[in-house]
């Protein structure tokens, strides 16, 4: 079985973002970029499926400009076999990404597609679900456990009240939650090896997808600033303040 993993290049999660002075967007110039943490978990899960003998090939796909090849090489160093990049601008909306991914999935015919549950920049949490809809395949979102058995996959999902397990007919789409696994580090020899792994290029034209969006970003603003309050010196003072000043208890 082939496993396809979609990855996204995003701002490093430790970076405190700044909004541009003209409020047009956040400022990404000279900011450290990285593999989206949820995508890293998706790669790790695919590589573990390969190590367990369930998957025989792991293909990593990314949609965006040439710069995201850096993150694709990271994915290859973590154990993916080859890469496919769809050459577009950065920052496409989820529906366009899902449409492009759907065409790549039709071409590659994987048994399982694994994505992160959300990208930490747009915080949309949509692409996996949209991809599943476009392909008319079942979805196992927010997965904390994935078990493949024959032509079915059992996915344990993190839901609001706890956990839920569903069984999906493959091919299926899975999106990862943080607790699915702990991603490994890429070793230096693997980073060197990853440079020689094949990385194919496709264009939206070749896939027959017109990339356009009905969404317009009007402005981006920093959130209302929260001011630091006061430090109290004792529990007594804290209780007194909460009772009489804030009146919340």
């Amino acid at each position: 079985m082939k496993v396809l993993v979609a990855v996204k290049r995003v701002i490093d999660y430790n970076v405190k973002v700044r909004v541009k002075a003209d409020n047009s967007d956040v400022d990404l110039a000279n900011v450290k970029m990285a593999l989206n943490p949820f995508c890293e978990i998706a790669i790790e899960e695919a590589v573990r499926l390969k190590e367990a003998g369930v998957a025989d090939e792991v293909v990593v796909v990314s949609i965006g400009s040439k710069s995201c090849e850096e993150q694709m090489r990271t994915a290859l160093a973590l154990g993916a076999d080859r890469g496919v990049r769809v050459d577009t601008g950065d920052g496409l909306d989820s529906l366009s990404v899902a449409k492009l991914l759907a065409k790549v999935v039709e071409k590659e015919a994987p048994g399982l597609v694994i994505l992160g549950k959300q990208a930490i920049d747009s915080d949309n949490n949509q692409t996996g679900q949209m991809l599943a809809a476009l392909l008319d395949r079942p979805q196992g979102t927010f997965a904390s456990k994935v078990a493949v058995e024959g032509d079915k996959v059992q996915v344990t999902r993190e839901i609001d009240g706890g956990l839920q397990t569903v069984e999906l007919l493959m091919p299926a789409i899975v999106t990862t939650d943080l607790r699915l696994n702990e991603p490994r580090y890429a070793s230096l020899p693997n980073i060197m090896k990853a440079k020689r792994k094949p990385l194919d290029l496709l264009t939206p034209d070749e896939l027959g997808v017109a990339v356009s969006s009905n969404l317009t970003l009007l402005s981006v603003e920093p959130p209302a600033e929260r001011q630091a309050g006061i430090k109290v010196s004792s529990v007594d003072e804290l209780v007194e303040k909460l009772r009489n000043e804030a009146k919340v208890i």
Binding site: N125, D160, S213, V220, R226
Partner: protein
């Protein structure tokens, strides 16, 4: 304009967050229909019909919808969509699972976690873990969105008498099957709806020590939350996690105990009215957002706090 709101429920009870979602629908303006898709969900439909803001309750009662599997419910919503200008759900795992699927079936984008309605096509939503607020305009024919419950005051839940319409159509994709569910049992209020939340972080040291927070929570009638560090360390189950990837809360009082205040955690709680931080590290970032900070060892301060409530 007619707006379809997806009811959040567990087949027995209509979840309070539905009332917040209806409030967002009211802000858009127009007739509001509420869809209850489930199995044996008559009590939910009855409760829904009493909400004055709702003009019509659509009930799809069938085994195929029992666990609200996205594959089935998304097709049901798609079949209804043509009559609506907006389709709204709460930012819960159920709606986050299902609505993007609906959007793709309708060939439109989805807006996630909407926190303000500017007009019928313009909305505000947080990006980058809440460190920036984007204003987005949608030209899609049907606007599909999830709504951040804590950003909207709930509508009145009783006094109305909406028309109830039964839907007979059954959409069963047949590609997914519910196996089982492990729901954490708690007598405390639901985290996202509680007016007071007491949260613990890595500083709690282990799961047993959360008992200290439970005692404070019981005295305050509060819910207990946790940071990702506490969840990842296995102290508490993940459904208690507050943050970018967990739950968003905005209670009147949020007490952060032994939590450093990473941006991912702040994303989930910084809209709380009053924030209290108890931490022994006086340089912890949590003190930059706390209204009241207490630099102290939590193992001394928390029992003392409990005793004085």
């Amino acid at each position: 304009m007619t707006i379809l709101v997806i009811a959040e429920h567990d087949n027995n009870e209509l979840k309070p967050v539905t009332l917040n979602t209806l409030s967002a629908a009211q802000a858009i303006g127009g007739d509001i229909h509420l869809l209850v898709a489930g199995s044996g969900c008559q009590s939910v439909a009855d409760a829904a019909a009493q909400i004055p803001a709702v003009a019509q309750v659509l009930v799809a009662d069938n085994d195929a919808y029992e666990h609200q599997l996205a594959e089935n419910v998304s097709k049901l919503v798609q079949s209804l969509a043509a009559s609506y200008s907006h389709i709204l759900g709460a930012s819960t795992t159920t709606a986050k699972n299902m609505l993007p699927r609906v959007a793709a079936l309708l060939d439109v984008n989805q807006l996630s976690d909407v926190m303000a309605i500017e007009s019928s096509d313009t909305f505000k939503r947080p990006i980058y873990a809440g460190n920036a607020i984007a204003t987005v305009q949608s030209a899609d024919a049907i606007k599909v969105m999830t709504v951040r419950g804590t950003a909207f005051d709930p509508v009145e839940g009783a006094g109305g008498s909406a028309e109830v319409v039964s839907l007979s159509e059954v959409c069963d994709a047949g590609s997914s099957r519910f196996i089982n569910e492990e729901i954490a049992v708690s007598e405390r209020p639901e985290l996202t709806a509680a007016s007071i939340v007491v949260s613990g972080g890595r500083g709690m040291g282990n799961g047993e020590n959360f008992e200290l927070l439970n005692k404070v929570a019981d005295k305050l009638g509060a819910a207990v939350g946790a940071s990702r560090a506490a969840v990842d360390a296995g102290f508490v189950p993940n459904d208690m996690q507050v943050g970018q990837t967990g739950k968003m809360v905005a209670p009147d009082l949020y007490i952060a105990v032994g939590i450093s205040g990473a941006i991912q955690h702040l994303a989930g709680m910084k809209d709380s009215k009053i924030i209290v931080a108890i931490n022994k590290d006086e340089d912890a970032p949590i003190f930059q957002v706390a209204d009241y900070g207490l630099v102290a060892d939590l193992f001394e301060a928390v029992p003392e706090l409990e005793g004085k409530l």
